[in-house]
Amino acid sequence: MSAPPSPERALSLAADVVRLADGVPLQATVRAGRRRVTRLGNGHVLHGAEVEETRVMVRAVVDGREGISFTNDASADGLRAARDRAVGAARAASGEGGIELPGPAEAGAIVAVDHHDEATAEGDPAAEGRQIAAALDAARRADATLAGVRVAMSEARAVANTAGLERSDRATMVQARLIATAGAATGHAAQVAERVADLDVVALAGDAARTARAARDPHPLPPGRYDVVLEPPAVVELLQWLSIIAFGSRSWESGESFLSGASGDRITGDRVTLYDPGPEAALLPVAFDDEGVARRPVTFVDRGVAGEAVHDRVSAARGGCQSTGHWAVNDRFPSPGAHPAAVVFAAGAHAGDLTRELAHGLHVRRFHYVNGFLDPKKARMTGLTRDGVFEIRDGERVRAVRDLRFTEDILDAFARIDAVGDTLGAPGGFWHHVAGCDAAPAILLRDFEFTGVCE
């Protein structure tokens, strides 16, 4: 492969774009990335893949209104065309205006973060192949077949603008998401890390296989309310939906978020603290957003009390508050406004296995296909269990249980949390990102409502 992405080259490219400004306030955000993937299925390696791409976002501001273009054509003609498209879009835009690009002072001082690992960026295909083979073997020895993915990413990012701002960073990430199948039962294990040395694919395979074996011959339980222990992957999926429906600037502005107008109000239980750690994250921290503004931690819910949503400078100006450094534009799946990079459920004080505290309940490893649009003001969500659900009696696992569907008002449900584990898990999400990682502890929650049973 070619050399790993370099923040110096990314910044140089961003500066090239800014030199095309020709009197128009202009911003360039460059992402130079490389991704290696090994995909597994049915106990085999389905394929290995590598992709390299440098993407340039050009943001132009005319009369306080913006237009944005993206390109991966870094030639002089390509950049000029991107600049022209952005300027044209800015000229055509309507609205109250008021957008200004931040200079270094407006962008604020950043907290330096470093989660780049050279070995992860370079990669070692032979070593990775041996690990994958060992993982497949570990599952086979446990009479299970493995499916999943191992992804390693490295990225250099740079932001430059005509107001004199120049910032760059680099990051690496490696993630494995594995499903073991034993008969009709499945088990899941996943992990995100900054360094390949911290990812133990073989151990994950073993975990997944043990869960799959334990999940065989599930019994049906009737729908109803059960005390549950939710493992970190299940909690993280709920956090991701809370982020979508409530923690971004757009839903906050429109009043659709349960945080809207509720700052300082008690909205859930006092064991619940949810936040975006920003540059203080233990895993994949982020120092600044895609317009170069310093990111700061944001507390969405503080011990059950409503806090704030994330903002960029545009939404903050409209809302009469401060930017939290969450400006970004997604051209693949347009979702305007500021969004959290990560949501963390603060760890609690309970050490050890929470299932020991269940007199009778369910141990839920993971949720699937959660949807939070049923009633966002109440955080009403539905979803299904997946990859291992177990009935617990007197702190002991008694049998596997058939998958169930839940429909719950999550804020109310979180008010019934009885215990929070002391260790955060970071399984990774739907998308693979080098920056920002959701994390959660295991939680023990009373009377969680299941409204259906899967066949």
Binding site: V37, G41, V45, G48, R65, S94, L384
Partner: protein, 469 residues
């Protein structure tokens, strides 16, 4: 620099690849979103690159700039060789006859030739026409995708697809209550493989007042009573029902356990072929040839000519979506369903246009023949289990039907069921006059996730005894 595809093909052949595919993709995508009289997002993306897939003892894929064609070919072969040790003992892709040609989707008005000012001239009046609301939004999307695929078998096909979509969405809010209504459905609207003439034909300005009114009415409406109801799904909602409960479980790679890490598995396993999936009225099929439909093309990303494959025939499960390898593993005809969302993604089995054959009669006639029921309109929420059996959908609006007439409007309609018993309860499907394609821009699948456009042709249909929560 020579032709990058030729360079890559030559390199694949020189490296002894059993099969090599080189795909150049250029995408141009524009999203224009307005909210409350201002432009909320105006993005224009131009993106091009080369994806090389190689088969030796395993599969390898490398993506990057076309200027790196030879290096990408080498890398794809290296990755294929590295994958060999863990790959299937046998990878049978059959032998596809080489094809050459060009294909274009119909386009009267180039959407990229329409100025942003003219597009805003559609969206801004439309959002203003929705009246007093918490939020009034509008979206126009345009895509142009140019591809060229060459293979070591001699295939050389060039395609150009132009797609457009447009929508308006109204959000009404009152204290703690929020209701949404969209037309023709939310986000991308009805995405089709046609030019800007489609956006103009959606008549957003004319339809907008009704959308705003319905959002306000929903705010004041009662919640739909829970229990068993006969339901009629409108085309937009039925298209998503088809997508989730037929399109996905018939993807051959899911059936083979190859999608487990993200999207899951399927209940439509090989031993289920010939079993009952739905009522006798239900015939579901995939056809990539449907002109003007978002999931259509001339050849898939393996170079297999678009074709029709029956998935469910008169209620009986009969087939899967597949590519060359999955078709061989499932002993099923190739469905020409291998698609990648960009040059940077490997082709995987995807939906094309997965549709429900029409029945007979108009929607008015279907309502008139319903004694007590609900007409459920446009989707609001969606959830289904990883086998694609247990589902739950929320809809924007539920029109109450009593003695064959619409008598009122309910809010917050959520219905749930299990796929075979739900489709088994289908006792009426409207006719060709009510049938149209409904395109979706963001079908997510694969790991890393790919988002691709698909379409579902359908006419409204009735299902008996459906559980409303």
């Amino acid at each position: 620099m020579g032709d990058p595809l030729a360079l890559a093909i030559d390199r694949l052949a020189a490296r002894g690849a059993r099969l090599g595919e080189v795909r150049s993709v250029e995408r141009e995508v524009e999203w224009l979103k307005v909210r409350g009289g201002r432009v909320e997002q105006s993005t224009h993306t131009v993106d091009r690159g080369l994806g090389v897939r190689a088969l030796t003892g395993g599969w390898g894929y490398a993506g990057g700039p076309a200027a790196d064609a030879a290096r990408l070919a080498d890398r794809a072969v290296d990755l294929a060789d590295a994958a060999a040790a863990g790959a299937y003992d046998t990878i049978d892709v059959g032998t596809n006859a080489p094809v050459t040609g060009e294909h274009r989707t119909p386009c009267e008005i180039d959407p990229f030739g329409v100025s942003l000012e003219d597009k805003l001239g559609v969206l801004l009046p439309a959002t203003a026409a929705m009246g007093d609301l918490a939020v009034a939004e509008g979206t126009i999307v345009a895509m142009r995708i140019r591809t060229r695929l060459r293979t070591t078998e001699g295939t050389d096909v060039t395609q150009e697809r132009v797609l457009t979509g447009a929508s308006v969405e109204a959000t009404a809010a009152d204290g703690g209550r929020v209701q949404r209504r969209s037309y023709p459905k939310s986000m991308e609207g009805n995405l089709v493989a046609r030019g800007f003439e489609h956006v103009l034909g959606e008549a957003l300005v004319e339809r907008a007042p009704e959308v705003g009114d319905e959002a306000r009415r929903l705010l004041a409406a009662e919640k739909v009573p829970s229990g068993e109801w006969d339901v009629i799904l409108d085309g937009a909602q039925l298209s998503l029902q088809i997508h989730e409960s037929c399109g996905h479980p018939t993807e051959g790679d899911r059936v083979l356990g190859e999608e487990m890490s993200l999207a899951g598995n399927s209940f439509l396993q090989p031993h289920m072929r010939g079993s009952r999936y739905g009522s006798e009225l239900v015939t579901l099929y995939a056809d990539g040839r449907d002109e003007g439909a978002a999931g259509g093309f001339g050849w898939d990303d393996e170079g297999t000519p678009a074709t029709r494959v029956d998935l469910v025939r008169r209620g009986e499960f009969v087939g899967w979506l597949s590519g060359r390898e999955s078709a061989a593993r499932l002993s099923t005809p190739q469905a020409a369903a291998m698609r990648a969302d960009s040059w940077s993604s490997i082709p995987i089995v995807r939906m094309t246009n997965v549709s429900l054959e029409p029945g007979a009669g108009t929607l008015d006639e279907l309502i008139a023949s319903t004694e007590r029921g609900l007409l459920l309109s446009r989707n609001r929420s969606w959830s289904i289990d990883q086998l694609r059996l247990n589902f739950q959908f929320g809809c924007e609006a539920a029109w109450e039907i009593r003695d064959g007439e619409i008598v009122g409007l309910f809010r917050d309609a959520v219905y749930t069921g299990s796929t075979p018993s739900f489709w088994g309860s289908c006792d009426a499907i409207c006719g060709p006059e009510e049938w149209r394609h409904w395109g979706w821009a963001f079908c997510g699948k694969g790991d890393p996730v790919q988002l691709i456009h698909v379409s579902h042709g359908c006419a409204p249909a009735r299902f008996r005894g459906v559980r409303i929560l």
